[in-house]
């Protein structure tokens, strides 16, 4: 008897007992729908978190100067040295040294008073390079951002944050106007778009209240000081949040090498990332998903036991049929196959219907509960395969019982 014939026979067995089959399928259906929804809910939440991470710029690492350790082993206080330099930034930007680092922005900053005509405004003046705008993920509203030429030529130019621009220039276009910082006139070449206040950012200051000048201009003309190559921090952007660990390691190794430090604990710099906050949120989320998934998995297991139960009932109830089939020449193998097909048809039907229900719920539920549900194709396919496997696994025992029935006992039973 071919597989096709056996399949037809099995299908016929399922059809003959409609109500019973439907109830069994229901068990699997609920289990599969629950699993799909839980996984979808978890994935939806994670997608939401990771989109928030991207918005935060959490693929960023901030390198700040640490403390120096003297030859005698005496460690200075935090920030006692200006160990980070523009050379460090240049080295990190190299693709061969650090392939997982996408962009590097050295930063020097200081609070300065800006004067434009009769109005003045105290803001954070940042000296940086053109890569600052990519690293911060900001955009220019008017004019342009700094370019390499500005850096090389120590150009007296400035790009204003939206808040700073509106405070200094209540009327008219700020681009082309002049702003004085400590008596140095700077030409406004651009205004940034507003990014809004970031609640989860560790900085309490308004990111829109800033003024960006070329790093060289800031060092030479505005801030002055003894070590004009030193920077107050370096912002490193990883290629993605997934590559951030690699980027971290590359930056760490490179800086240790550049600074001639052999013991990692003696590092004169600190690397931090905002991702650490987010990763806590993600892990809580994942725990919840695993917990809910576990509950859904248990309901699937109960569904599987339902299949087994029904198949055992079916074997007992159809003992005469089994006996007859054996008398007519069905081998134990064919009987086992017939019952396995029945069990897997129940599982498969439950899986397919459950996936359908899950998808329908995924469409309508977010409107009710407010959380996004992400249903992925592979999850649905996997759920259906699992449902069928459950049918087969839980069908093995009943099918073997049917196959091993002695034909005479099977025929004799009343």
């Amino acid at each position: 008897m071919s597989w096709l014939e056996t399949f037809r026979t099995g299908l016929n067995g399922v059809r003959t007992h409609r109500l019973r089959s439907a109830l069994t399928v229901l068990g699997i259906l609920i289990g599969i729908a629950a699993v799909i929804l839980t996984v979808g809910l978890g994935e939806g939440a994670q997608a939401q978190v990771s989109s928030e991470i991207t918005a935060l710029g959490s693929n960023l690492l901030t390198i700040t100067p640490g403390s120096t350790t003297s030859a005698a082993g005496i460690r200075g206080g935090f920030g006692t040295s200006s160990t980070l330099t523009t050379y460090d930034a240049t080295a990190l930007a190299s693709k061969t040294v650090a392939p997982d680092i996408k962009a590097v922005a050295p930063i020097t900053d200081s609070s300065e008073t800006l004067t434009a005509g009769t109005s003045n405004w105290t803001t954070s003046v940042v000296g940086s390079t053109p890569s600052w705008i990519t690293v911060r993920g900001e955009t220019v509203a008017q004019g342009r951002f700094l370019d390499e030429q500005d850096i090389t030529d120590h150009e007296p130019v400035v790009v204003l944050g939206s808040v700073t621009a509106s405070e200094l220039f209540t009327r008219g276009d700020p681009v082309g106007q002049t702003v004085d910082v400590d008596g140095l006139p700077l030409t406004v070449v651009g205004v940034l778009n507003s990014v809004g206040s970031s609640t989860s950012s560790s900085t309490t200051s308004d990111p829109d209240d800033t003024a960006i000048v070329p790093l060289t201009t800031a060092a030479q003309e505005i801030f002055g000081g003894t070590s004009r190559n030193s920077v107050s921090s370096i912002i490193v952007q990883g290629r993605s949040s997934a590559d951030l660990t690699a980027a971290y390691q590359e930056a760490d190794q490179e800086l240790l090498a550049l600074h001639g430090i052999t013991t990692a604990s003696d590092a004169d710099f600190t690397i931090t990332s905002e991702a650490s906050v987010v990763s806590t949120a993600t892990s809580v989320d994942r725990t919840l998903t695993i917990l809910l998934g576990g509950v859904a998995g248990i309901s699937l297991l109960v569904g599987g036991i339902g299949v087994m139960n029904i198949m055992l009932v079916s074997v007992t109830e159809r003992i005469r049929e089994i006996g007859l089939r054996k008398a007519l020449g069905a081998t134990p193998r064919l009987i086992r196959r017939q019952f396995l097909v029945e069990a897997s048809v129940l599982g498969l039907t439950g899986g397919a219907l459950g996936a359908g229900l899950g998808i329908i719920c995924a469409v309508f539920l977010p409107g009710v509960i407010g959380d996004p549900i992400a249903i992925s194709g592979w999850a649905v396919a996997l759920a259906i395969v699992v449902a069928m496997a459950i049918g087969v696994v839980f069908g093995v025992y009943p099918a073997s019982r049917a196959a091993n029935l002695a034909p005479i006992d099977a025929l004799r039973s009343e």
Partner: protein
């Protein structure tokens, strides 16, 4: 008993091994093949059932031979070993000791898989309970053994239809068992037994669940099959039914005896 075709109906009432199977076997041993037309050869077959520590001997050394074309009734009261004999005849069970040759093939020690194949190919069953599958139509029930034999669908249907026509149910092929009378259901069962062209048709109390009209009807059908040259073994406790057969084998306390139709009363 061994002369082919010589003494079909009513064969001689030779004494057989009923008194002592070991000293007076009716048939030749398993090593020497019997005549080509012997469908069934039992040689000192025993069957012992064990339930816990108690062993019950259902058959205590049965030797018998049934030739092609014979119509044999095996008669015995309940508890006589009749059912056990029928199970072994039908390859539904295997002997504890002794040999059983079916159409020259020793089936005594066969595996479950091999026995299933022998049942499919060589034996057609007719049961007291009809044992038709309620969810299938008459012709689907009849084609079932052909499906297990691996016959192609189109041929299966054709042969099932022909078998149903042979038992006079050509007009009822699409009916389900529930839509047929008891007599008609048993006719479907007979058609199912016929459809594989088996060496042996084994009928276990085929009239047990039928009224007398239907019973006569089915027995008439059996007679027709016999006249057409089929080998039939009828198992019954009813002597009236048994009298339809050409040869009677009585069974009592696990031992068989040949009976002439004239002394049917001895079996009681």
């Amino acid at each position: 008993m061994s002369e082919p075709g010589g003494e079909r109906p009513g064969g001689s009432a030779r004494p057989n091994a009923s008194s002592d199977a070991d000293t007076a076997p009716l048939t030749v041993g398993p090593r020497t093949p019997g005549p080509a037309d012997a469908v069934i050869e039992f040689d000192r077959v025993t069957k012992v059932y064990r339930t816990g520590a108690i062993a019950v001997a259902a058959l205590r050394g049965v030797s018998l031979k049934i030739n092609t074309g014979e119509y044999v009734a095996i008669v015995g009261p309940s508890g006589s070993g009749k059912s056990t004999l029928m199970h072994i005849l039908g390859c539904l069970d295997t002997p504890t000791t002794g040999t059983f040759r079916l159409a020259g093939e020793n089936v005594s020690g066969m595996s479950e898989e091999a026995l299933a194949e022998v049942r499919n190919r060589r034996i057609g069953f007719v049961f007291q309970q009809f044992n038709l599958l309620a969810s299938m139509t008459a012709w689907q029930n009849v084609e079932l053994p052909l499906a297990y034999a691996g016959v192609h669908r189109a041929e299966r249907k054709e042969r099932a239809m022909a078998a149903l026509a042979k038992v006079g149910l050509a007009q009822r092929v699409q009916h389900r068992p529930g839509e047929l009378s008891g007599g008609q259901q048993q006719r479907v069962a007979v058609a199912r037994a016929l459809v594989t062209e088996p060496d042996l048709i084994l009928a276990d109390e085929p009239t047990g669940n039928l009224d007398s009209v239907s019973a006569d009807d089915v027995l008439g059908l059996m007679n027709e099959l016999h006249d057409a040259g089929r080998t039939l073994v009828l198992i019954t406790h009813d002597l009236e039914v048994a009298s339809a057969a050409g040869r009677l084998i009585g069974i009592r306390d696990g031992l068989v005896s040949e009976n002439d139709k004239r002394d049917l009363e001895n079996v009681r």
